[in-house]
Every structure is written in structure tokens, then in C-alpha cells.
């Protein structure tokens, strides 16, 4: 059952709003030419950082980039390969180098 506008919140007249939150990183980048705007990524994100675009068919807005937990669920469920890219910030890109063949190791 639903009680419409009962006592305690009756004073709320203004609607909700959202303002972009500045963040030093861009965890998620969309490829607009591949994205079909299905919003699967937004529906699955457990941190709820993506908001469906106000324009139908366009990719979601990365509304709360700083709240990304970098789990990769958005990429895993995306039906169009390459439409969404998730990448850790620069500081978290671990370094790798060519292996040193055992024959060249000086003991």
C-alpha cells in the first residue's frame, strides 16, 4: 500500500537536482559511435554512478566519477564491445618490463 505525501515530507516542494561533481580522474569513457544508449551499464552499476542520459539513445552521464569502485560490471554487461571503457587512474597503472632470461641473470 502507498500513502501519498503523508505528514513528514509534505514541505518538499522543489524537485531533485543534480550538478556535475568535479573529479581528478575519468574512470569511464564512452564511445558514442558504438553506444546504443541501452543503459545496461547504468542499471548494473552497484555504486550507482551513472545516470541515464536525458537524450534517448545516448550514453549515460558519468554523474559521480569519484565514486567509481572500478569493478568493471559496466563493461561486462555492455552488449556493444568497445562502447564503454573503464580504466584506473594514471597513478594506478602498474609497470611491467620485459623478462630477463634466466641465461642472462648474473648471480
Amino acid at each position: 500500500m502507498t500513502h501519498e505525501n503523508d505528514s513528514c515530507a509534505a514541505g518538499l516542494s522543489a524537485g531533485y537536482s543534480y550538478r556535475p561533481v568535479p573529479c581528478s580522474t575519468r574512470p569511464i569513457i564512452y564511445n558514442q559511435s558504438l553506444c546504443i544508449g541501452c543503459n545496461r551499464c547504468a542499471s548494473v552499476c552497484q555504486c550507482d554512478i551513472l545516470l541515464p542520459s536525458p537524450v534517448k539513445g545516448e550514453h549515460p552521464i558519468v554523474a559521480y566519477p569519484g565514486e567509481c569502485y572500478y569493478c568493471g560490471a559496466c563493461v561486462m554487461v555492455c552488449p556493444r564491445k568497445g562502447a564503454i571503457r573503464l580504466e584506473h587512474p594514471l597513478m594506478n597503472q602498474a609497470k611491467y618490463v620485459p623478462v630477463i632470461p634466466e641465461s642472462e641473470v648474473l648471480n
Binding site: 513528514c8 550538478r19 541515464p52 561486462m76 611491467y96
Partner: protein, 658 residues
């Protein structure tokens, strides 16, 4: 700055009230299994999840190994051997009940997962003939290849499979709904005068609608706390190991309702915070957990030796996966850090010894020197199936050109965590504190059950699934034995609704943001409840947090339900921090197993203090009591006394569920 319209309807002020037999709070692994157990028993079930059940929780996008599956057909250990080993390894500050349930029923849950469509065997024969694989069952094992009680699993398939099963069973799943408070009845008579739980309050985090879920029994399967000492307002999602929104709201609402807690004084020096001092978990060269037992080399390419517990250097890769001569089995895994001699497995030489011998930093993981099947199972299966590795590690590194046959991956700092944290930067890790419970996983409040990370000294994914299912069936038994849903005071619902929506009415220019409060709480906790504590510091901490509660919480402002959710989380973080301060005050000694040091009580673990100090909040007054560390009794006897039906009808996957 541009303002956008909120894309979801505004339902602030609306209330939806619904009821069920069993209510499950939290839709991670434990919550899904709790709901499934109750639904299988014919109960009407509601599951409430803050994110989206399909991929939410710590195991939302995967996990790579399942510990303590002692009853799998290849296992050479008994549930008793492993459960008691955990208890002893943890010096009895250990959840013997949880460990035993995992050891005894974990394999049954794996069979469930397979039945639901999850992958637990190498059905494609990708690793046929590998030393860690049993070619008959196609099970693959990690760590101890002789005793075979830890399975490598394809955990990324699990949450979608569980979600489908919930749907099939008719469980009503409320995604994007945060549970915020427990409904507790104080009525005399109804519950024999004792407090009992009649469901929970919640809020839709898209619309702001208030929800009242009334239930005969409730299972809390929410996360362990987080963001108490570690916070970064820019990359909040990277602050901690577990998901951003997993911050211990179950603990906080439990505390407000009078639930009893154990071991909340325990915390460890932080191990993971990729917002700063560490790297993405499993994304650097290391040889632990997912990466066990990777070959490590130093800067010159000289291989770092593995040794057994007696310091004997191991010559082959294979030997890293077997117990030492005279040792039956060894322990490794999520809550095993630096095990006692009895349970210690193969490990690379101690760091200080390596430096003495001239090994040079940085170190690297070099999988190219491992047998092909070991290389492929670490990079591609384990890294790939472990939470948060499939896309941000495995796929991205591969895209960048990383090839484990040709490249070695750098290790940072001086240990396998690739991090150097300060003593006051702490984390709830390695079996942290949580809700105290009995052998039914019931709390001190009737009808309120706990599972997974909600329990004290919890373990990893296998424990979450096993305790979830167990709590779900006990909650179902209790729900089916009572006729009516416990009483709810209307005024409690009104007060909760008002509390949840209050930040919408605070003007931004008069208010503070949730991030500012979280930063202040974590700084306060680093200052007053860090590596070394004492009475005066702890009292200062309580005073400051009390002032935050009085003066700052009423000034928190938000413009939409997403903001409200983050605000509620920080209010809960504040509550959890207060629990930690109270628990730290109550333990008047220092303790090794609890990683707990008090400068005013420096003596480590004096015999008269070797017990649990249980803590609860009774209408604003802090009550403590002592409980013996062996309160759970003999694990096998106590389990079997209470689970004859399960043993007869379900154990070993013998029941065909429709």
C-alpha cells in the same frame, strides 16, 4: 554551474508498506543465499539491496577461489580439522561457528551454484592434466594440492546465476533500496519481554520513497564497516578494498537497535587503498592469494627463493603447493596473514633476509618461469575471475600489451601488498569485528539473524554463501513457527522517515557535505583511535564525534536521493566509529590477535582478559559483558545437534530442488 533534472521520479514523502515472512537485508552472496534458503522452505521472501543484485556486493563481479570446501570428493581433510585450525590460528578470537558452517556446508553451496548455472569445474578441459586439476571431477584446486580443500572457481558467473534463481523462486527483490533501520518491538509479552525484530525501514535511492518492510524474521547480510580511517574525497570509490557503498550500515542500524557486537576493537594497519598508498588489488606483481605461488624475481632477475616452514629452500614450482615434511596441511587465504608454524605453508623468504642477502628492489612477478598451466591459471583464470580483475586488470593490461610469457609485473613497497601504510591508517581486515550470534546465527534480538560480513570475525566468499544459506533456513524455521508479524510503533516509522529526508531541507549555504564529514571522521579516528590508544585519547574521540553528531549531522545537505544515500552512509560511518571507540575503551589491555595496543594498558593478552567483550547500546547506555572465547563449544557436536534435518535431507546435494 549547470544543474540537471534528476532522471527518476520524486517520491520523497511517499511511503510503501509491505510484508513477508523472511526479510533479507543485503543482496550480496550471503543475502542471495539466505533468500534462496528461505524461499526453498516455502516462505515469502523480500530481499533489499542498495545496488543492483546482478553484480553487487564484494563478490559482485567475481571471486577466484573458494576456501574450506572440506566435503568435496577430492578433499583429504575433515571439516573439523580445518575449522579448528582456523580457531587456533586466530587464537580463539575466531568465529568457530562460521568457520564450521563453511567447512561443513560450503561444498553444498558450490553444487547449488552449479545447479543455478555458475561455473565450478573446468568443463571445457582448458587445464586437462594440470597438477591442480582432478581429471575425473574437473575440479581445480589452489594452495594445498595434496589436501585439495580450496577450489579455484569462476566467480564472475555466480551473481548473475544467483539473481536468476531468486527470480525463479519468486523472491521479491528491491534493488536500489537502502536498508536504514531495524523495526524493533519493545512490547512485553509478544516476544517474552525480550526485544524482537519485525523487519526494517528503507529508502529508494532513486526516488526517495520511504519503505517499511514488515517481517516475521530478518536476516542482516550487509557489509563490514569501511571508510572509518581511510578517506579520499576525490576518488572515494578507491578508498577501500570492498565496494564503495559497503560501509557497515548493518552494524550501525544494529547498534541503534541494541544488537550486541564482538571484537569491534580490532583493526589492522591498512593493506588496500588504491586511492593513495596501494595499487588496485591483484594488479601488481605479487605472490599471494590470487597470485599464489607466482615466481618472484628481484631487479636483476634473480629468482627469490620459496622456503617451507622449516626454512628449507624449495627447488621446484610444484613444491610450493605441498605441505612440509611431517605437516598434514597448511592454511592460506583471505584471513590468513602470517600463520603459526603448525599451519604455515610455503612462502618466499622474509623480506629483511632477502635484503641481507643482497636481493635488490624492485621485485617483480615473473610468470614466464612457471609451468604453462600455472602461468595460465594465475593470469587469465584467477586474475580474471577475482573481484575487480576481469576488466580493470586482466583486460586493460592485456590491451596495454602485457604478456605474462614476455613481461614481468612490478611489485611496489616492501611487501606483497605493494603499499606502505602508516600505523594510524587502519582497516577492518583479516576477520574484523561484527555482530555476535548464537549457533542459529541469531543475534541477541529475537528474529534477527546475521550472515557473511555482518558476523564478527567473518571470512571470505565461501563463508558468506554458507552462513547466508544457514541463516536463511534458521530464519525460515523461526518465521514458520510464529503466527503474526511483531508489532511496529508508527512513531518509529515517522521518526526514521524524517531522519532520512532531513538533508533535503538544509540549504547548501548553511550546510556541510557528506564528504566533509567523512574526512573529519577519518581524521578524528586516525588521531584518537589509531595504532596506539589510551583512555584520554579515546574519550577525546568520543567527545569530538559526539559533537559532530549534535552539530554537523543536522547540517548535512543533499539535493537528490543519491546524495541522501551517501549522507546516510556517512552518518552510519560516524556510528561505527563510535562503536570502535567504545569497544577500545572497554578492553583494558593490549592484544596481539586483535592488533590492539593501549599505551595505558601495555600488557599483551593477560590471561584474565582473554575473553570477548561484548558491547551493546541499550537506549543510549553502553552495556558490556564478557563471553568466553570458546562459547561455541565442540563444533561438530553442537552443529549436529541443531542440523539433523539438513544432514539427512540436503547435505552433499542429495535433495533435488524444484
Amino acid at each position: 554551474m549547470t544543474e540537471y533534472l534528476w532522471p527518476y521520479p520524486n517520491e520523497a514523502g511517499q511511503t510503501e508498506e509491505t510484508s513477508c515472512d523472511v526479510l533479507v537485508l543485503g543482496g550480496g552472496l550471503a543475502g542471495c543465499f539466505a533468500a534462496i534458503a528461505a524461499a526453498r522452505r516455502g516462505q515469502s521472501v523480500i530481499l533489499v539491496e542498495k545496488g543492483a543484485t546482478e553484480k553487487s556486493g564484494s563478490g559482485g563481479t567475481g571471486f577466484d577461489h573458494w576456501e574450506s570446501a572440506c566435503t568435496n570428493p577430492c578433499s583429504k581433510v575433515t571439516p573439523e580439522e580445518i575449522a579448528w585450525a582456523y580457531v587456533r590460528e586466530q587464537d580463539w578470537y575466531s568465529n568457530g561457528i562460521g568457520h564450521y558452517i563453511e567447512c561443513r556446508e560450503g561444498y553444498d553451496r558450490l553444487l547449488d551454484l552449479e545447479h543455478f548455472g555458475g561455473k565450478i569445474r573446468d568443463t571445457e578441459d582448458e587445464f586437462k592434466g594440470a597438477e591442480f586439476r582432478d581429471d575425473e571431477t574437473k575440479f581445480m584446486f589452489a594452495y594445498d594440492y595434496r589436501n585439495r580443500f580450496t577450489l579455484r572457481v569462476w566467480g564472475s558467473t555466480f551473481k548473475p546465476a544467483l539473481t536468476r534463481e531468486l527470480k525463479r523462486l519468486g523472491v521479491r527483490v528491491y534493488d536500489r533500496t537502502e536498508a536504514t533501520g531495524l523495526i524493533v518491538s519493545r512490547r512485553e509479552g509478544g516476544c517474552g519481554g525480550k526485544k524482537c525484530c519485525g523487519g526494517a525501514f528503507a529508502m529508494d535511492v532513486h526516488t526517495g520513497k520511504f519503505l517499511i518492510f514488515r517481517a516475521k524474521s530478518t536476516v542482516m547480510c550487509m557489509s563490514r564497516p569501511a571508510r572509518v580511517w581511510l578517506f579520499n574525497p576525490d576518488t572515494v570509490g578507491l578508498c577501500e578494498f570492498r565496494p564503495l557503498q559497503s560501509i557497515g550500515s548493518g552494524h550501525a542500524m544494529g547498534w541503534r537497535a541494541g544488537v550486541e557486537f564482538a571484537m569491534m576493537e580490532k583493526s589492522v594497519r591498512a593493506e588496500f587503498s588504491a586511492a593513495g598508498r596501494s595499487f588496485p588489488p591483484y594488479g601488481t606483481g605479487n605472490n599471494h592469494n590470487t597470485w599464489y605461488a607466482a615466481t618472484m624475481v628481484d631487479a636483476r632477475g634473480v629468482e627469490i627463493p620459496y622456503v617451507d616452514r622449516d626454512g628449507r629452500e624449495l627447488k621446484t614450482v610444484s613444491e610450493r603447493y605441498y605441505p612440509a615434511p611431517g605437516q598434514k596441511f597448511f592454511l592460506k587465504g583471505g584471513v590468513i596473514d602470517n600463520p603459526k608454524y603448525e599451519y604455515r605453508g610455503p612462502e618466499t623468504l622474509d623480506f629483511d633476509e632477502l635484503i641481507r642477502r643482497g636481493y635488490q628492489l624492485p621485485f617483480y612477478a615473473d610468470l614466464s618461469r612457471m609451468p604453462e598451466s600455472e602461468r595460465r591459471v594465475i593470469w587469465g583464470m584467477m586474475v580474471g575471475e577475482e573481484a575487480k580483475t576481469k576488466i580493470p586488470i586482466y583486460q586493460n593490461y592485456t590491451d596495454r600489451g602485457f604478456d605474462p610469457e614476455k613481461h614481468m609485473l612490478q611489485s611496489y613497497g616492501t611487501g606483497w601488498q605493494s603499499a606502505n601504510f602508516l600505523e594510524q591508517e587502519r582497516q577492518f581486515f583479516g576477520a574484523p569485528g561484527g555482530v555476535m550470534h548464537d549457533w542459529d546465527l541469531q543475534t541477541n534480538i529475537d528474529g534477527l539473524y546475521v550472515a557473511g560480513d555482518e558476523t564478527f570475525a567473518s571470512d571470505c566468499a565461501g563463508a558468506a554463501c554458507s552462513t547466508g544459506y544457514y541463516a536463511g533456513r534458521k530464519a525460515a524455521e523461526s518465521a514458520s513457527a510464529i503466527d503474526s508479524i511483531p508489532h511496529m510503533e508508527r512513531s518509529d516509522a515517522e521518526a526514521e522517515k524524517k531522519r532520512l529526508l532531513a538533508p533535503l531541507y538544509v540549504k547548501e549555504e548553511d550546510g556541510i557535505s557528506w564528504k566533509e564529514l567523512n574526512m573529519a571522521v577519518s581524521k578524528a579516528m586516525q588521531n584518537y583511535c589509531g595504532g596506539v590508544r589510551c583512555e584520554a585519547l579515546l574519550m577525546e574521540g568520543l567527545d569530538l564525534l559526539g559533537r559532530f553528531e549534535q552539530e554537523m549531522v543536522p547540517r548535512l545537505y543533499g539535493a537528490n536521493p543519491h546524495d541522501l544515500m551517501r549522507i546516510h552512509e556517512v552518518m552510519d560511518i560516524l556510528t561505527v566509529s563510535q562503536i570502535v571507540l567504545h569497544a577500545s575503551l572497554a578492553r583494558k589491555c593490549s592484544s596481539e590477535p586483535l592488533f590492539f595496543r593501549r599505551s595505558d594498558y601495555p600488557e599483551m593478552d593477560p590471561p584474565q582478559m582473554r575473553h570477548h567483550i561484548l558491547l551493546c547500546n541499550q537506549d543510549g547506555e553502553i552495556k558490556t559483558r564478557e563471553l568466553s572465547l570458546d562459547y561455541f563449544g565442540d563444533l561438530k557436536t553442537e552443529y549436529e545437534r541443531r542440523n539433523a534435518d539438513y544432514m539427512k535431507e540436503e547435505a552433499g546435494g542429495r535433495k533435488e530442488w524444484q
